[in-house]
Symmetry: C2
Subunit: 345 residues, 2 copies
Amino acid sequence: MVGALMRRPTIVDIAKAAGVSKGAVSYALNGRPGVSDRTRERILTIARDLGWVPNGPARALAPGGLVGAVGMVVDRPASELGAEPFFTRLVSGIETELSGSGVDLLLQVTADVEAEAAAYRRWAAERRVDGVVVVDLRENDHRTDLVRELPLPTVVLGGPEGADGLPCLWADDGAAMHEVVHYLAALGHRNAVQVAGPEYFRHTGVRAAAFAEAARDAGLKSAATAHADYTGDGGARATRRLLAHRDRPTALVYDNDLMAVAGLGVAAEMGISVPGELSIVAWDDSVLCRLVRPSLTAVSRDVEGSGAQIARMLTRLVAGERVHATEATRGDLVPRDSTGPLAED
Amino acid sequence: MVGALMRRPTIVDIAKAAGVSKGAVSYALNGRPGVSDRTRERILTIARDLGWVPNGPARALAPGGLVGAVGMVVDRPASELGAEPFFTRLVSGIETELSGSGVDLLLQVTADVEAEAAAYRRWAAERRVDGVVVVDLRENDHRTDLVRELPLPTVVLGGPEGADGLPCLWADDGAAMHEVVHYLAALGHRNAVQVAGPEYFRHTGVRAAAFAEAARDAGLKSAATAHADYTGDGGARATRRLLAHRDRPTALVYDNDLMAVAGLGVAAEMGISVPGELSIVAWDDSVLCRLVRPSLTAVSRDVEGSGAQIARMLTRLVAGERVHATEATRGDLVPRDSTGPLAED
DNA sequence: GCCGTGAACTGAACCGGTTCAGGAGGTGAG
DNA sequence: CTCACCTCCTGAACCGGTTCAGTTCACGGC
C-alpha cells in the first residue's frame, strides 16, 4: 500500500480518504442512520482497506461508551485452585461465549473477601469492566450490596436465595442430592456422610439440608455432614477421620471431585475397598473422575455450558436488557465403579 | 459529605475544589515536578476526600498512556484444560504479582493457533493490553514474528531456543530429564518410555532429546518416546498401547501429571502393579500427584513462582526497561510411591 | 534598578471515538 | 411560489486524563 500509515488508522484518516466528516464515518461504521447507503458503502470499504479497528479506550471514554470487558474474581487460595477443575471449566465456558462478541474476560484470583471487594471497587472506579460474574455466594454476602451500590452490572452464579434479587444462574442442587441419596439407599447403604465445603458458602447449606432431608426420606440410619475446605488435603483429612471411626460410614458424598479423589486415595491407604466396603460419589464430574481407579460415580454438571450461559446473561444485562433468574441444566448422576452394594462379609 | 457528586469525581472536580488548573492536579497526582509541596499536599488531600480514582480509558487514551492490563492466551481445547493444573497455577502466580501493581490480566482460551493470533492482533489494534505472555512455544512458531511486527511487548514462557530473541523465562528441562532417567536406571530399569506431549511443541522436542541422550548415558536397553496430547484420555490410550506390548516397558515418564494419573489408572485396570511391575514418573508436580494411590513420583516445578516471575518481567518490559532471558528455578525430582525397583518375579 | 533565572502554575492541544444541534439541498403539498 | 419537511451531512462539544508551551512572579546578582 502506498502512503501506508505507520500509526494505526483512525476514523479521521477514513474521513479524509472518503472526503466526509468524522461524524459521518462514525455513523457509517456503527450502522446508524445519518448517511446514505452509497456513502456508507464507500466508508466501509475504505475502513476495510485501511485495516481500521476501533480503539478500545477511546470508545470506552465516550459518554455512555462500553469498555468491552467483563470481570470475574475467584476468591480461593491459589494453592487450592490449581487442581480444582471447576473454575477452569467455567472460564472456558465463559470464554467460548465472549470470544465471539469481542468482549474480554478479566480474571482475578484473590486471597480473601476483602481483596475481592477491593477488586470490584477498583474495576468500577477505574472503568475496567462493564460488568462482573459473582461466584461462590456466601451466607450474609456483602458483595451483592456492593455491586448494587457501585453500581456494577452483575450476574450471580448461584442463588436464587442469597442473590438478593440480582440476575442469577442457579442449579437445583437439592434435587441432584436427593437423587444421589436415594441411589445410595437403594444400593443398601444406611450410614452415609456428606463431605461438604466450608459452611460459609451458601450452596453448602443447600446441599447439606437436602442431604439430611433425603436421608430421612430414604430411611438412612445415620447421615451426617462433615465440613472440609474443597482442597485435596482437606478432603483427605476429613476422610481419614471418618473412616477411622468405629462405626464408619459405608458411603461418602463429596462436594467436589478433588476431595473425592483424595478420599479414594485415603481409602486405598487404609485398605478399605471401594466399592466393596465403601461407596464414593463426587460432585462436578470432571475428567479426573474417569481417570482414577476405580472410576468415580459423580454428579455431572455442564459447567462449560453454565459458563457460556452466564456470559450470555451478562452480555445482555450490560446491553441494557432485563435479565431474570435462570435455572441451569439439571445435574445428572453418572454411575461408575466407585459405588455399589456392600460386599458380603 | 455535603454536595456529594452523583458521578465519580474527575480531576476537574479536584481542580475546582483546590482552585488550581487541571494540569496542576495531574502533576500533583502523578508525583511530577511542577507544583509546590504545599499545593501538592492540598491536592492529594482533596483527591483522597473526594475518593478520586483515575479513569482507565482516559489514561490509556492520552498519548503514550498505558492500559494497565496484560494478556495471556491459552491455546488448548477447553475440555482438556479443565483438569490440567498447570495453567491455573500459572495464572495464580501471575495474578499474585500483578494484583499488587493494579495491572489486570486478560485471559483468553482459544481452539487453535489462528484464533490465538487473531487475539493478539485484536488486542494490539484495539489497545486492550500493554503486553502479553506467550506460552507453549512451537516448532516454527509464527507468534514471535507476529508480536514483534504488531508490535506487542512480549515475554515468552519457554525457550530460549525458539523465543527468537524475545525476553523469555526458561527451564532446563534437559537437566531434570537426565535426573529422572538416571534415577530410574539406578532402580534397575532398562526399558523405559517417555509419554510426551505433541511433537509440535518445542519443549516436547527438548525433553525427548534429553530423554534419549540420558537413556544412552545411563545404559538403558530401550528408550522410546510416544507422543500423546496432554489429555487424560490421550495419556490413557498411549499407556494402554504401551503396556499391551509383548516386551512392555517397566518405567513410564509422563510429560504432565494428568497423563500420569491416567496412566496409573490404566495400570490398575490392566492389573499391573505400581511400582512392583511398573514405575511411573509425572512432570509438573501438582496436588494430584499426592492424592492418588500410589502417590506419584514427580518432577516438581515452582509453577506459581514462574508465573510471578514472568509477570515481573513483563511489567518491567512494558515500563520500557530491558529484560533478558532468565532461567527459572530448576525442577526437583520428588520420589514417592510410584517408582521403585522391580519386584522379584 | 535592571535583567536573568527558575519555580509554580495556567491554558490549550491532544488522544480517538460518539453524539447532538444545525445547515444545505431536494421534494412535495397547497 | 412558498413553506414545511426530510435526508444527508458538517462542525463542534464531550468523555477524563497527560503534556507542552507559555505566563507570572519572586528572588538574587551585579
